[in-house]
Symmetry: C2
Subunit: 267 residues, 2 copies
DNA sequence: CGGATACTTGAAAGACTTCAACGATCGTGG
DNA sequence: CCACGATCGTTGAAGTCTTTCAAGTATCCG
């Protein structure tokens, strides 16, 4: 790990076996499940910074899991206005919603160079059929994404610019920290001011002004793509951050038993 | 069905077997699947208008499907500000995100008198295990909810008050119409101005003013809990409504085959 | 060095909120 | 039946948050 103020770990934005790591948050995988996941992990994909991974309205037959790097998902209005709906980091799913329609409903773009794990949508179905526990785990993840999005809605609807940014920084810190990617309190944060504006529903100019207020009150420090949180509690208070919505927990024991039974029955 | 300007159907807000109807949008259920769903449908629950169905932070061991009526999901900030994240109508899931934590992350309230179908969270796991197709269908639904929420984010971040309301009305019409609950273009819309404000990230006063502009330009007509859309195309244009994000489609044939195979293997 | 992009600042305008007041409606109790 | 209070709906004016426009400095890169 990293010390506060240190610069980078050996692999600052990457994480091995992101899918396994993510699912392991909810249930401890057995060997057959791990094998299945490994089997899917075959196709790895790389995109350069700013590359389009999926386009709104275009056919989309794959779902991705980020192995390293950051991505953004966005929608556009007809006159060019853009809203970034989320920043995705290692372990996150991409294009998860396209499994409904085989058509992407968002523009997904690589914010940094990224490495992705590629899964055919149909393959997802097979996996769900063979290993119901994994299907349920995916349901779990979808629910978590949903919860995070709901909080974003809350920010956009009812938080002021200062609160929105403070909240985003705390949330980002918590998410990166869970992956071991927040070295101390100084983390890689490769988001431009324009992307920040499009995510927060503000203009870049107002982002600059608000960021300045945040740094001048000693809550954070920014230099280039590095974000340092100087006063986490202060930032939480400023952003009215309540961690409840983001905390993961294990699948209830009873569900887990039922799922295990079903898996065994198939062998 | 209803004629334009007519008042009510025999069951203006209800729908039979809401879960089946919802899932049938994605796949045609076989008899064993229908039986399983019927088995779950046993516990039916009623709540009166304004009753709390779930509370943010409280333990939550059930997921619900709305049989009739409207509900809202909301988050609160520490100082009382409220953001409604969505309005739920018949067929919609409630507390879906609580399957992650067994703790509700939102306040769910009955907007009208409602009838719900109650499912234990653990039961969901069992069903997923026994009928992978249903698990995947639920994944589908979760993805659709996600897509709708992303659009809400877009509204709050990048649409003006007038556009937001126009968009909401079109979206609501489309959703109700898919259930056969939008009689012509005049539908039951039991949302108070205050709820509208909390959903759109605005104040009630501004809702009144904006609603007035919408009615004066001849796009809609409101009287009490009835909403009539006078100019659907105009409203779509005003709200920059792009239906892509909300359209359902069937599960791809290949996935379906894989799932069926798995189901059979278990018998 | 030139030119692009990132970042900053100021002033005016716009969208929306806040405060305050008022009439209309509606259910309720006397 | 009428009076009453409560909520709903409306309007006006001032204030706040954020945007727009416009200009300017700093930094980086070729």
């Amino acid at each position: 790990m990293d010390t506060v103020g240190g610069h980078a770990t050996s692999s600052p934005m990457g994480v091995d076996r992101p899918l396994e790591r993510k699912l392991a948050q909810y249930l401890d995988l057995d060997t057959s499940e791990r094998a299945l996941l490994d089997g899917m992990s075959g196709s790895e994909l790389r995109f350069a910074r700013a590359a389009a991974i999926a386009s709104d309205g275009a056919e989309q037959n794959h779902v991705y899991v980020i192995k390293s790097g950051w991505c953004s998902c966005a929608r556009h209005l007809s006159d060019g206005r853009r809203q970034i709906t989320r920043f995705a980091i290692p372990g996150d799913f991409l294009c998860f919603d396209s499994i409904v329609t085989s058509v992407s409903t968002q523009d997904v773009v690589a914010i940094t160079d990224v490495t992705l794990l590629q899964l055919r949508i149909e393959k997802l179905g097979e996996v769900a059929a063979k290993q119901p526990r994994l299907a349920v785990a995916m349901l779990w993840m979808a629910a978590q994404d949903d919860s995070a999005l709901a909080e974003r809605v809350t920010s956009l609807g009812r938080r002021f610019a200062l609160e929105r940014l403070a909240h985003l920084f705390v949330e980002t810190y918590v998410r990166l920290d869970a992956l071991g990617l927040a070295g101390g309190r100084r983390m890689h944060f490769p988001i431009t001011k324009e992307q920040l504006a499009d995510a927060m529903g503000l203009t870049t100019i107002h982002i600059y002004r608000t960021l300045r207020r945040l740094t001048e009150s000693g809550l954070i420090r920014l230099d280039g793509p590095w974000l340092e949180i100087l006063d986490l509690d202060g930032l939480k208070e400023q952003g009215k951050f309540d961690p409840l919505y983001i905390e993961a927990s294990e699948i209830p024991a009873a569900t887990n038993r039922a799922l295990r039974g079903a898996s065994l029955a198939m062998e």
